[in-house]
């Protein structure tokens, strides 16, 4: 039931400012997985890498997707309830979503895969990993939500509009080439709608406690044999870096990279630096 189409859904790739990203470089399809239909993007060949988006849904096909797909097969789904993926009524917390995803990976016959999760998607990746660490080869968490920082609070995305949140997420939007793609001055009606769809789904999963689980921290110890990299921007105003400390201390053997002059979105703010770091950690095919 694969219906390939050029990924112009968001209207983002049409932008004249689009970087050197070929429109045909990835394939978008709608997939039946674990009893639901979701929107999936794939690119490249090689070892599988699952990319889990954050609280505002799939950001569009960005430079970091393109680079990471150079020597591996990249899977970038939209979670159920985000973008064009069907919502699932019984999902009321991130752990529900994580359980669903594990079966979705079964259905795709993916084993020992690498996974990278951003922000809310980092929380999701951590939940999936503690449920079934053997499913994964390496884990990358980029400024993940999911644990309660002891210093600072997680930024309230529901009491702020999406563009205000995105501006807060980026440390220096002037020197961020892709900022206009994720947060244009005049977002298209489609983009505005997808933001609201995403916020509604994130609200269903993370309203209370706000964007963390009280138990995840205690379960992270199970990742002791899973090679884990935690990445944080030093200037992150969305998820306090103290949450990074907690992740790092809770996952034995994990490493943490703190990137200077970067906020909550290192993959957007410094894509070259970021993808080098990730590629080095994941190794080549």
């Amino acid at each position: 039931m694969e219906t390939s189409r050029i990924a112009e859904t968001l209207g983002i790739l049409k932008s004249e400012d689009a970087l050197a990203v070929s429109e045909a470089s990835f394939k978008e399809s709608s997939l039946e997985l674990a009893g639901s239909t979701i929107q999936m993007r794939t690119a490249g060949e090689g070892k599988p890498l699952l990319v889990l988006h954050g609280e505002l849904g799939f950001p569009g096909w960005m430079n970091y997707h393109e680079t990471l797909a150079v020597d591996r097969k990249l899977y970038a789904p939209s979670h159920p309830g985000y973008d064009q993926s069907d919502g699932i009524d019984w999902m009321m917390q991130v752990r529900d979503l994580a359980g669903w995803y594990l079966e979705a990976l079964d259905d795709m016959d993916l084993k020992e895969i690498d996974v990278i999760g951003f922000s809310f998607g980092g929380w999701l990746a951590a939940e999936m990993a503690v449920m079934d660490p053997t499913k994964f080869r390496k884990l990358v968490l980029v400024a993940p939500m999911g644990v309660k920082p002891e210093e600072g609070e997680i930024y309230d995305i529901f009491l702020n509009l999406a563009p205000d949140y995105l501006k807060e997420a980026i440390h220096d939007s002037n020197s961020c080439d892709e900022f206009d793609l994720i947060c244009p001055d005049e977002p298209s009606p489609e983009m505005l709608e997808l933001w609201e769809v995403a916020r509604e789904q994130s609200c269903k999963l993370g309203w209370k406690p706000y964007m963390y689980s009280l138990s995840l921290k205690h379960l992270l110890h199970r990742l002791k044999n899973l090679e884990t990299l935690i990445v944080w921007g030093k200037e992150d105003k969305i998820v306090p870096i103290d949450a990074g400390r907690i992740y790092h201390e809770s996952i034995p053997g994990s490493s943490i990279e703190v990137m200077e002059n970067i906020g909550h979105r290192p993959e957007i703010e410094k894509p070259n630096e970021f993808t080098k770091l990730i590629t080095k950690f994941l190794g080549s095919k």
Binding site: L161, K204, W207
Partner: protein, 420 residues
């Protein structure tokens, strides 16, 4: 015709800097309660209760209360407390709660209990409305807005069952679970108090009300969009196989009566001079755009014609002037002689069986309110009753919204069906 009295019970603090149309912005959820003066609060709570007692004395059928949270424009954060007091200190008028904010209650069994107690203490005078609340309410009580509508419906079903069926029973729902529902209190009215649904925005809500045959009360919106929204109810009723009548509709709007035309206008202008109220057109303060977009609170598509003109805080038209509101009948003020024909126009246009006069708000003083209540009792209410009789506008207490039958004539068997 059922005639009720309403005020938001604003926190009127001349010292606050936010009172009297100063122009200082009150952005929703941005004002610290460090300026709150409980001595003043004490006086105001007692004043508003006194005014309700007087409203009953002057012949109002209903004393209406509402509830908002974390905001100076409405002091009814725990409305059921005020209702409990009115249950004991008034004798005849119905206590109309429009309404309890169902989705923000994590444990709606408290509502089953509190409202049954109010109904008993008042000897069966409770009218129990439900609302979904604004974004402010969801945030204040940390209730997930994306589940607002689901929680509303489930809480309603649960409360009605707990009121009307013998316990103990179990409730295993999506949002609420109980293993022992057996409250040791039952509503005085059988099978339970009349339910009403006030609103302005959601099409889902008005369709739901029509399907449940619950009267819908449109809150302070312009006449034509209100009539269009009522049509949604009428159409749904038809689909459900019944004819909706005046007993299914209510309308609330600003009405102030005074001794002279000059005084009436001077005082009515105070509607727009209190602590900024997003529901008081002309003095909305600064809308909090994030609250308008609180995810999932209201369907982004299924809204009513009234939504665009309802409130600034729902993204509607900002700041209609006092003059414009007088022009389009959303504020009616004057002496009884000039006010009565204008009320007639509204009744003819909308054909509601229940009306609520919104008065004594904004910067109006206790004396302003008391003069208006007296004149309403002496002249306006009797005249409105005559007009309503002439127009055959029947309230849900005269004609059952459930059956369309006159209430006095229905059999006991039919009565057991009424209201659930």
């Amino acid at each position: 015709m059922f005639i009720g009295h309403f005020t938001e019970r604003p926190y009127q603090d001349p010292e606050s800097g936010y009172f009297g149309a100063t122009g200082l912005p009150i952005k929703d959820l941005s004002l610290s309660n460090e300026i709150y003066d409980p001595i003043l609060g004490s006086d105001l709570y007692n004043r508003y209760l006194d005014e309700k007692v007087y409203a009953e004395e002057m012949g109002f059928d209903g004393l209406m209360l509402n509830e908002h949270h974390s905001t100076p424009f409405c002091m009814g954060g725990a409305m059921n407390v005020e209702a409990s007091i009115l249950a004991r200190i008034t004798k005849r008028a119905k206590i109309v709660l429009l309404g309890n904010i169902l989705p923000i209650w994590d444990d709606p069994l408290w509502l089953v209990e509190q409202l049954a107690m109010i109904d008993m203490i008042s000897k069966g005078r409770l009218v129990s409305g439900w609302v979904r609340g604004t974004g402010r309410e969801s945030v204040s009580h940390n209730a997930p807005p994306a589940y607002n509508w689901e929680r509303f419906q489930e809480a309603h079903d649960f409360i009605v069952k707990a009121w009307s069926e013998p316990g103990p029973f179990r409730w295993e729902g999506k949002h609420y679970q109980y293993r022992y529902v057996n409250p040791w209190m039952r509503p005085y009215q059988k099978p339970h108090p009349q339910i009403m649904l006030p609103g302005v925005v959601s099409r889902d809500s008005i369709v739901w009300a029509a399907k449940q045959r619950i009267p819908y009360i449109m809150l302070a919106t312009q006449l034509e969009p209100t009539r269009q929204s009522f049509q949604v109810y009428h159409d749904t009723a038809k689909e459900e196989g019944y004819e909706a009548g005046s007993q299914n509709f209510g309308y609330l709007w600003k009405v102030h009566v005074d001794e002279t035309e000059e005084l009436a206008e001077e005082v009515a202008r105070k509607f727009v001079q209190g602590p900024s109220n997003p529901f008081l057109a002309g003095n909305e303060g600064t809308a909090n755009p994030a609250l308008l977009k609180l995810p999932g609170l209201t369907s982004r598509r299924r809204i009513l014609p009234t939504a665009n003109v309802a409130t600034a805080n729902r993204g509607g038209q900002l700041s209609r002037s006092f003059e414009e509101q007088v022009e389009d009948y959303t504020i009616i003020s004057g002496t009884p002689k000039t006010v009565i024909p204008k009320i007639r126009h509204v009744l003819e246009y909308l054909r509601p069986g229940s009306v609520f006069f919104w008065d004594g708000d904004g910067a109006m003083t206790h004396d302003d309110q008391m003069r208006s209540l007296r004149l309403m009792g002496e002249e306006v209410i009797p005249a409105v009753r005559e007009i309503a009789d002439e127009l055959e506008l029947r309230s849900p207490f005269e004609v059952s919204p459930k059956t369309g039958e006159p209430i006095g004539e229905i059999s006991e068997e039919a009565a057991s069906v009424t209201g659930d």
